[in-house]
């Protein structure tokens, strides 16, 4: 019975809120557009960051560690070292390239066909090429593995080309940080827009709130329609932003098409799912709720009926 009563009250508040929004269609539409425009930029950033994330997998592939072994080294020692490397935590896979195989590979290069004639013996060492595991997603972790492998017995020298990957990682880190900051700031902006709007609405309904309190309405009863209005605006703004982002991405991929076919740039393959839409709307609902609840709770506490 209590539950049904509660649902009834919420339905009442929703109806009231819908009526309020319908009674001022232009103001509502403009607010929703402003909220959508505010949300589009951080959302675009967020999606593009998601698109750039696979690049971090690519940089991991470029981060192969080469372990140059002592020369000469017995076959048993080579095998034992390969097994040890493969069992090391953080190693994805490791392949052994013998000194002979390296020399053969060199011979296949142009101008090197008769290199053996000039060399008294094979100067190339055997190599273990190590591909780090996908869990090593930061330069620090990679560096740690490199240091560990470098000090294994029979490893004469180790090499890791870390410069470009470190820069790329730092750039991605910076962009992720900027995305969060932007998201936070623009989210805050949405909260403030809704807050100001509903604060003004509450001021406009000051007399009504006094009467409601006089006849026994709780703060919850009074604040509920405002909360639903805030949540409605937030959700509608987020939905419109979602559609706007779709339009922007479509336009971008169209614009990039020419460049890609000319051999420049990478294809933009950012797809938004229904789940993304729901996430957007959920985010908008939360921002709308925050924008309504925080200021109104205090404002309502200050209004007391008088006559």
């Amino acid at each position: 019975m209590r539950g049904r009563q509660c649902v009834k009250r919420h339905l009442q508040a929703m109806k009231h809120s819908a009526k309020t929004l319908r009674s001022t269609p232009w103001a509502t539409a403009i607010t929703v557009i402003v909220l959508a425009v505010t949300l589009i930029l951080p959302v675009l950033f967020w999606l593009l960051m998601g698109h750039l994330k696979p690049l971090t997998n690519e940089w991991r592939e470029g981060n192969e560690i080469a372990l140059y072994l002592d020369s000469p080294l017995s076959s048993a020692n080579e095998t034992a070292l390969l097994v040890r490397v493969r069992e090391t935590e953080g190693v994805g896979h490791a392949t052994f390239v013998s000194a002979e195989a390296s020399l053969k590979e060199l011979e296949q290069q142009e101008g090197m066909q008769d290199i053996r004639r000039y060399l008294p013996n094979n100067p190339l060492p055997s190599v273990i090429n190590v591909m780090p595991a996908s869990t090593l997603d930061t330069p620090e972790k990679l560096e740690h593995l490199f240091e560990k492998l470098k000090h294994y017995p029979h490893v004469e020298q180790a090499k890791l080309n870390r410069d470009w990957s470190t820069r790329l990682y730092a750039l991605l880190e910076l962009m992720t940080y900027l995305t969060w900051i932007l998201g936070g700031l623009f989210g805050l902006m949405v909260v403030f827009i809704i807050r100001n709007l509903l604060r003004l609405a509450a001021q406009e309904h000051h007399e009504e709130i006094e009467v409601l309190k006089l006849i026994g309405a709780t703060d919850g009863f009074i604040i509920r329609p405002f909360l639903y209005t805030g949540m409605c605006l937030g959700a509608a703004g987020a939905l419109l932003a979602f559609l706007g982002v779709h339009a922007v991405l479509y336009g971008l991929s169209y614009a990039l098409h020419g460049l890609i076919s000319a051999g420049f740039g990478v294809p933009l393959e950012v797809k938004l799912s229904l789940l993304d839409a729901l996430r957007f709307i959920g985010f908008g609902l939360i921002l709308g709720w925050l924008g309504a609840y925080l200021p109104l709770k205090r404002q309502l506490a200050r209004i007391e009926p008088c006559h």
Binding site: R9, L214, D219, H307
Partner: protein, 216 residues
């Protein structure tokens, strides 16, 4: 039952509105509260409706001390009483029906039950035909009656009326008092604050006289 025990009220600034007021109103009783302007009539009603808090003493409603009421208890207490003032405090952007329906909305009553009770209340005050109008288009007496309908629609235990006939001509005033008597006969306790002695004359109900904040 309403009990005042040594109740005093001093407003910020030092004005003493009530001083050591003691009285008891039995459940379902109808009484008048009278005295000249500034005697403390409105303050006394405000204290019962918890629009003000006493500076001293205690007020008990059905044995419960109002001084111990928390915020949500205040709302629940107000929803158990009906209050009507000289100015009926109607919402001008809502129809007569919607104004009267407000206390029922607060109680979570909706649909057919709400409509039935609002219509019954409007019928009691003779305004059923004007349910769709906005208060601004009604006369002072009609607005007062809408305020009364709103005060009784949720079947309160007590009806508090502060100068309910202050803006009305004598004929209409008599009608309003008659309405209060009808509610009282239906079991609602009624306390009417008025300075119009002509209204009280000839009535069989108890009269509480206030003078300078004290009961005489």
């Amino acid at each position: 039952m309403i009990q005042f025990r040594q109740v005093s009220k001093r407003y910020p600034g030092g004005y003493q509105a009530l001083e050591y007021v003691n009285f008891t109103l039995a459940k379902g009783e109808m009484a008048f509260l009278t005295g000249c302007s500034g005697a403390g009539k409105s303050t006394l009603l405000k204290l019962i409706a918890l629009l003000e808090r006493p500076s001293g003493g205690d007020i008990l409603i059905n044995g419960a001390s109002l001084s111990k009421f928390k915020k949500n208890d205040v709302a629940a207490h107000r929803s158990r009483i009906g209050v009507t003032f000289q100015s009926p405090h109607l919402l001008q952007n809502r129809t007569v029906f919607e104004n009267v329906a407000l206390p029922l909305h607060i109680q979570g009553i909706a649909g057919a039950q709400l409509a039935k009770r609002v219509h019954a209340a409007l019928d009691r005050v003779g305004l059923l035909a004007k349910e769709g109008m906005i208060p601004l288009h009604l006369s002072g007496g009609e607005q007062q009656r809408v305020g009364i309908a709103r005060a009784i629609v949720h079947k309160p235990d007590w009806l508090l009326a502060d100068e309910p006939t202050g803006n009305l001509d004598p004929g209409l005033s008599g009608d309003i008092i008659e309405l209060f008597e009808q509610f009282n006969q239906a079991g609602v306790g009624v306390l009417i604050a008025t300075h119009e002695l002509s209204l009280i004359a000839g009535m069989q109900h108890r009269v509480l006289w206030l003078k300078g904040g004290r009961l005489c």
